[in-house]
């Protein structure tokens, strides 16, 4: 297989993995195994899949509360992610974070932030540390178009630009922020134009076309790694499902959703590869069954995993080696 074909195969397989994993999450939410807020990425998989394909393992990711896919794509195990959503001690955050707060130090996945826009400053800081340490790593920050109205977007991209830091800002423009359509939240709806006003190279790409996303992201990441400073990428995509499990979806027409489903990123790539004669149904079936095993295994693992001991509730408020913790026990002694 050519390099392109290998990449295409991987992109297809990764998108299907994210899709099937989240479909299972929705089932498990209805079953009560997953609680709290659950935001799925179904329909938007091409964005994270394409961008991640352009990264090195040591590059860093900062994402949002809609980040299950990003976590899996960065290399976190389906088991640790699913167990986290079940609130188990075997989860990536030992059950403390849940769906909105997935983290993984090993793969440099920095969350998992449930404050809209809250992750952008952190991404700038991670890039600053790389720059000051002479490392050529890239930090990629994902956020929605709604987040661009927050002051944190403005302050963060300006800071990254003033200091020429290696950050790729990826706006997942799915046209809605909960129920708020882009035109009602931004006076300038061409988001690349907004970003360009910070003197940052900005591109817009079809977020339903994973090949386009991958190619554009690769160009941006290369430019950043070469010292080109921060870049901005707007991926135009769409959320097929409700914002969260509580969203009655009063704010958009069913027809709009159906129209976008015509551009399902997985089906689109599959059709193109099939037309190009580089993909057989058997290939997809193989992927599906490999993925089914992963998802079943993750669910079974989560289901059978134990909970954190309640006695450990206060673990990780401070570091074990912080004197706040070391002295705490002592303080008790003195007190009682």
């Amino acid at each position: 297989m050519s390099a392109e074909q290998t990449l295409d195969m991987r992109l297809l397989r990764d998108m299907i993995l994210v899709r099937r994993f989240e479909e299972r999450c929705v089932e498990l939410y209805s079953a009560g195994s997953i609680r709290g807020f659950l935001h799925v990425y179904i329909g938007e998989e091409a964005v994270a899949t394409g961008v991640m394909s352009a990264l090195r393992d040591d590059d860093a990711i900062v994402a949002t509360y809609r980040e299950h896919g990003h976590a899996l794509l960065k290399g976190m195990s389906a088991r640790s992610v699913m167990a986290e959503m079940f609130g188990r001690v075997t989860g990536c955050c030992r059950g403390r974070g849940g769906s909105m707060h997935l983290f993984d130090a090993t793969t440099r996945f920095y969350g998992g932030n449930a404050i809209v826009g809250g992750g952008l400053p952190m991404a700038v800081g991670l890039a600053l540390a790389d720059r000051m340490s002479g490392r050529d790593r890239v930090t990629v920050c994902f956020f929605g178009e709604g987040a661009m109205a927050e002051g944190e977007f403005h302050e963060s991209i300006n800071l990254a630009a003033v200091w020429g830091l290696p950050v790729l800002f990826v706006c997942e423009n799915n046209l809605y922020a909960m129920g708020t359509a882009l035109a009602r939240s931004e006076s300038e709806t061409n988001l690349a134009v907004k970003a360009a006003a910070y003197e940052v190279p900005a591109w817009t790409v079809d977020g339903m076309d994973v090949r386009a996303v991958a190619a554009t992201a690769a160009r941006a990441v290369d430019a950043i790694r070469a010292g080109g400073g921060p870049h901005f990428l707007e991926a135009r995509t769409f959320r097929f499902r409700a914002h969260s499990m509580f969203d009655p979806e009063r704010y958009r027409e069913r027809s709009e959703v159906e129209a976008w489903k015509e551009h399902d990123p997985i089906q689109s790539l599959r059709d193109r590869m099939t037309a190009e004669g580089v993909l057989a149904d058997a290939d997809v079936e193989a992927m599906e069954s490999e993925i089914a095993v992963i998802v079943d295994d993750a669910a079974a693992f989560a289901e059978s995993s134990p909970d954190e001991d309640v006695a450990d509730l206060e673990l990780f408020v401070h570091s074990p080696d912080s004197s706040v913790v070391l002295r705490a026990s002592e303080r008790e002694v003195v007190m009682t």
């Binding site: 609680r35 849940g98 707060h101 404050i115 002051g151 922020a177 704010y251 206060e314 408020v317």
Partner: protein, 347 residues
């Protein structure tokens, strides 16, 4: 008890149905209060994230956009600092804005506007400008929303001079406090505990503005005073029942207004029971419970038969896992234990 904490079943007030009463939820009570206020006064309008097209993040404002139109039910961009500040400006411009900050967790982004402008403007201007704004927020934990979506900061906000803070814990208050808050010439922060929205019960026909200067004694008792507010009132009422079974007659005070505190009602009760336990969903250190404990000591020290007790949340960013979250929050057994220790003169 667990269920009760997550979704209080017992309304915090007697539910006997009288003629003319209607069954209503806490969510609907606030919605009706907003509807009534907007019908009564053209200057009143609602603005915030997703209050309109979406119907309100927690469904509180559902239907208001259709009734009042986009001019008076304004969806805002994700810009907490700007739209809270714009509410302040609109108030200065003669309007009576109700600004919904989706949850208290996001209000930190608007805290500069609240503390440095809304709360300070009248004093800084030598009394020239008043800021009649009502800022509504959902607060509290109990729904497995984890560390960034589970803060209970309403008591902490009580440190700021120049604002009033209310926390309706009953259907009558949910229905009646907004009108009173809107009538206040100064900024009012209005906290709705997320676990109360589905609480339902009967409301009489004579709904209307309620006094917000006085705390309420939700359960009279002679042995110990349990002081709480908002989301923990139902838990505390439940604990009082358990205590009754154990022969302890607890009085339960619902603060209702967290700033300024109604010392008269609090101290008045303690002077009768000589014992007090404060139940506060906030993190223990520096929570409102500390201020209440300090005031009781200052004003009734020699009347106390036991140190003032406190039942608060564990000092941890709220964990997602249900069993850990429940362990972190005030519970009926903890309240009962604290009250029993108080009966024994312990803390």
């Amino acid at each position: 008890m667990t269920a009760a904490k997550l979704e209080p079943s017992t309304p915090a007030q007697p539910p006997e149905a009288e003629p003319g009463t209607t069954t209503i939820t806490y969510r609907e009570a606030i919605r009706e209060a907003m509807r009534e206020a907007m019908l009564a006064d053209d200057r009143v309008f609602l603005m915030g994230e997703d209050v309109g097209m979406y119907g309100g993040c927690f469904g509180v404002s559902t239907g208001l956009l259709e009734q009042f139109g986009p001019d008076r039910v304004r969806d805002t961009p994700l810009s907490e600092s700007a739209f809270v500040g714009a509410g302040i400006g609109a108030a200065l411009g003669g309007m009576r804005p109700i600004v919904e900050v989706m949850t208290v967790n996001f209000s930190l982004l608007a805290l500069d506007q609240i503390m440095n402008t809304a709360a300070a403007l009248q004093h800084m201007s030598g009394g020239q400008f008043q800021v009649p704004i009502v800022i509504r927020m959902t607060t509290g934990a109990g729904r497995q929303l984890a560390a960034q979506h589970s803060h209970s900061l309403e008591g902490w906000y009580g440190h700021i001079p120049g604002i009033r803070i209310v926390a309706p814990a009953t259907l009558a208050d949910a229905r009646g406090m907004l009108a009173t808050a809107l009538a206040d010439p100064d900024p009012v922060l209005f906290f709705e505990h997320g676990s109360l929205y589905n609480m339902s019960g009967e409301l009489g026909p004579d709904v209307g503005p309620v006094d917000i200067d006085r705390a309420a004694i939700r359960r009279p008792g002679a042995d110990v005073t349990l002081i709480t507010y908002g989301g923990t009132l139902a838990t505390t009422m439940e604990a009082a029942e358990v205590l009754a079974g154990e022969g302890v007659d607890a009085e339960v005070i619902d603060l209702r207004t967290l700033r300024p505190l109604d010392d008269a009602t609090i101290i008045g009760s303690v002077l009768r029971t000589h014992r007090a336990v404060v139940i506060d969903e906030g993190w223990r250190s520096g929570s409102l419970s500390a201020e209440i404990s300090a005031r009781i000591t200052e004003k009734a020290f020699y009347e106390l038969d036991a140190p003032v007790g406190r039942v608060c949340s564990a000092e941890v960013p709220m964990p997602y896992a249900r069993h850990l979250e429940l362990a972190a929050l005030p519970s009926v057994p903890e309240i009962v234990d604290a009250a029993q220790r108080s009966m024994r003169g312990e803390v």
